[in-house]
């Protein structure tokens, strides 16, 4: 009886995995089908012939390489900058005592509730006045203010023993040196996690780049794909190829570093 239960469990596990992966699998499969083959009844799951013409068209006719570059550039910049300033702030909240520290931190955490859409219009008008619409900085700048990052780093940094810091101080290290040579290396795991979160979040971000980038040479991948999908409603296979190009980098990245990513989620959700 127990064996049957186990068999059922495995069956369910596999069934759920099939449901989870099927759309992604179909996406890849359709992207290498010749034009028109995917629009058939019954829907073909495997291509009868393989072709890479859609990928070719993406890179030549539709200049996908440009969008890929934009996404990559923006994701890396936002990650780099926000890591820098959030680690400094997280360190300050964890290891420095100053008046109003805890209240300020609580307010910051509470403000995470405010949905980002509230800020979009005024931010747009503000960046417009600064002449930053349709520039990389227009996406980078709002990405710098990341309360979640400060939260994560502060939690982690609190576990660094004060004695280590005291010892460094007695050796004559300046505050910045302590931050640079002691805190940052010790925070490596959480920094990596945060970097992955930020990179993926920026890569997948859709609404803000949609609003800010008016020139198509500045589009990021998600915006380009949405555009493509509204434009080429009939070209299923081309759409799928575009979707693959958007999803593949983050999936590969995730597969490589999933331990960090997943530990980050649990770290962020544990009650203090």
């Amino acid at each position: 009886m127990q064996k049957f239960g186990r068999f059922l469990l495995y069956l369910s596990l596999i069934a759920v995995a099939a449901v989870t992966l099927a759309p992604l699998g179909w996406m890849v499969s359709a992207s290498v089908m010749p034009t028109g083959q995917s629009a058939a009844f019954p829907p073909p799951f495997f291509p009868k012939e393989l072709t890479f013409e859609h990928y070719l068209r993406l890179f030549t006719g539709i200049r996908l390489a440009r969008y890929l570059l934009n996404s990559a550039l923006l994701s890396v910049s936002v990650t780099a900058i926000s890591l820098a300033i959030n680690s400094m702030a997280g360190f300050a909240f964890a290891k420095y005592r100053f008046r109003g520290r805890d209240q300020l931190f609580k307010m910051l955490v509470a403000s995470m509730i405010i949905p980002s859409q509230v800020t979009m219009l005024p931010l747009f008008l503000m960046l417009n006045k600064m002449g930053l619409i349709n520039t990389y900085m227009g996406v980078i700048i709002p990405g710098m203010a990341g309360i979640f990052g400060i939260f994560l780093i502060r939690q982690f940094a609190m576990s660094i023993p004060d004695s280590l810091i005291e010892a460094a101080r007695m050796d004559g290290a300046s505050d910045f040196r302590i931050y640079w040579s002691l805190i940052l290396p010790l925070c490596k795991p959480i920094l990596i996690t945060l970097a992955i979160f930020t990179f993926m979040g920026t890569w997948n971000d859709f609404l803000w780049p949609l609003i800010v980038m008016t020139d198509d040479s500045m589009y990021t991948l998600p915006v380009a794909i949405a555009n493509l999908s509204l434009e080429h409603v009939q070209d299923t296979e081309l759409m799928m190829a575009g979707a693959v190009m958007t999803v593949a980098p983050v999936l590969i990245l995730f597969a490589a570093v999933q331990k960090y990513y997943i530990s980050g989620i649990t770290a962020g959700s544990l009650k203090e």
């Binding site: 550039l73 890396v76 910049s77 780099a80 900058i81 890591l83 820098a84 747009f124 008008l125 417009n128 002449g131 619409i133 349709n134 520039t135 990389y136 900085m137 980078i140 640079w180 940052l184 795991p189 990596i192 970097a195 609003i211 800010v212 008016t214 020139d215 198509d216 040479s217 500045m218 555009n227 509204l230 434009e231 990245l253 490589a256 570093v257 331990k259 960090y260």
Partner: protein, 434 residues
């Protein structure tokens, strides 16, 4: 703890704390992406949808005739065009020249974004108002000022299955509303499972509004600051429009028809009010057996004369603050040449705005285009207010609900007017100080 493979993360290999900020600064400094610095001027041109894709093919000829000018075409899907243009205006990144649906011209004149083309046209040797359909030209004029040059024209006519209509005694298409209702009734009797006509009330505002225009409803009143949809003319028109649904001559569940071409070919409906792009689409997508069994005709009017239709289409407009106005005008003149208009028609199926282009054999002999030519001489503009697009969508929503029996005609139109009045509130304050 697992080691990361030295993949994308340079941090793992090199002294990552130094690389991070360096990368950040480097990227932050390479601020707006600069296009190639060409010798000569670069004119940016935004075009939408299918037009955008094909107009790029005309550019090499223009650039050949005008060495020193490069045209950069950007294609934007129609769904996103409206917001893209407004966002670009707010972001001060409008192109030098762009395609503008003529019902959107009022908005951009309010924004002071487009150039007064009067001086340009008076200096032009090739362009004149008389070269265009009067109803179409009028849509480009706001308070006697000319803001756009018509590029291609669009209007709605009746597409119909000539064989099905002949089968119930209509060798000629219906010419009046009475005949129109009559042919629908006959079709229903002959084919109870099918429909006489298809009105796509879930995404087209034109058919019911057109009937309103045919009844000479002004659509808006009080200097276009209040809705007049509850006025007697529009009520009459909506009642007539609703007859199609109440008598089951048109399907109420419009989303059932997933593929219009297939449904038309199968005779699921025999008539359809649509635009010129479907001449090409129908020819391409209908099976060969349908050849010669469908036709176009001007719209039937309430009392037997040709009914009015919408003066649609796109114009070419020039950005008021463009740094390449001379070049833009050259481009506009180029695209307005009858030869270029014809070439564009061949590529896209969009009908030329230049009347001269129609004399060419490819159009003059086109049986389907003939109906459009006639109709274009009977078109009228919708109210020239910036809020029109929003109002039209609301009208469509309420009329759709009327056809679904969610409102009576009077209730629905009264509710529509209430909403339209709210939409127009700002305009009312500006124009009449109320």
């Amino acid at each position: 703890m697992q080691r990361i493979s030295g993949r994308t993360f340079v941090k793992a290999c090199v002294d990552w704390r130094g690389v991070l900020p360096a990368v950040a600064v480097l990227l932050a400094v390479s601020v707006p992406s600069c296009g190639p610095r060409d010798a000569g001027s670069v004119v940016t041109f935004w075009a939408f949808g299918v037009e955008g894709e094909h107009v790029a093919k005309l550019m090499p000829e223009f650039e050949r005739r005008n060495p020193g000018i490069t045209v950069r075409v950007q294609v934007i899907p129609w769904n996103a065009a409206h917001e893209k243009l407004l966002t670009a205006f707010a972001g001060r990144s409008l192109p030098d020249v762009w395609q503008l649906g003529n019902t959107w011209i009022p908005e951009f004149t309010i924004l002071n974004a487009i150039e007064d083309l009067g001086p340009w046209i008076s200096r032009s040797r090739t362009l004149r108002a008389s070269g265009y359909f009067p109803g179409i030209w009028d849509t480009n004029v706001m308070d006697t000022v000319l803001f756009g040059i018509p590029w291609y024209v669009d209007t709605r006519v009746l597409f119909y299955r000539s064989d099905l209509l002949a089968g119930v005694g209509y060798v000629n298409p219906p010419r009046s509303w009475d005949e129109w209702f009559d042919v629908c009734a006959r079709l229903k009797q002959a084919h109870p499972e099918q429909y006489g006509i298809f009105h796509s009330t879930n995404n087209e505002w034109a058919p019911p509004v057109i009937m309103g225009l045919q009844e000479h409803s002004p659509l808006l009143k009080d200097q276009d600051t209040r809705g007049d949809f509850s006025g007697p003319e529009f009520v009459r028109a909506t009642r007539a429009f609703d007859r199609f649904f109440k008598n089951n001559w048109a399907p109420v569940k419009t989303t059932q028809i997933v593929n219009v071409f297939q449904a038309f070919a199968e005779g699921y409906f025999a008539m359809y009010i649509t635009g010129p792009w479907n001449i090409g689409e129908f020819s391409r997508r209908l099976p060969d057996s349908l050849r010669g069994r469908w036709m176009t005709a001007p719209l039937p009017g309430p009392d037997g004369a040709i009914g009015l239709s919408t003066a649609g289409g796109s114009s070419l407009v020039m950005f008021r603050h463009s740094k390449h106005k001379e070049e833009v005008w050259k481009l506009i003149e180029f695209l307005s040449e009858p030869a270029q208009q014809l070439e564009f028609y061949r590529l896209t199926g969009n009908l030329p705005a230049r009347v001269d282009a129609w004399r060419d054999s490819s159009l003059a002999a086109n049986r389907y285009a003939a109906a459009f030519f006639t109709q274009l001489n009977h078109v009228v503009a919708t109210p020239k207010v910036p809020e029109w697009e929003q109002i039209a969508q609301k009208a469509r929503e309420y009329i759709e609900l009327i056809t679904m029996d969610q409102y009576t005609v009077e209730e629905g139109l009264a509710a529509l007017d209430r909403e339209v009045d709210i939409i127009l509130e700002k305009r009312r304050w500006l124009v009449r100080g109320e």
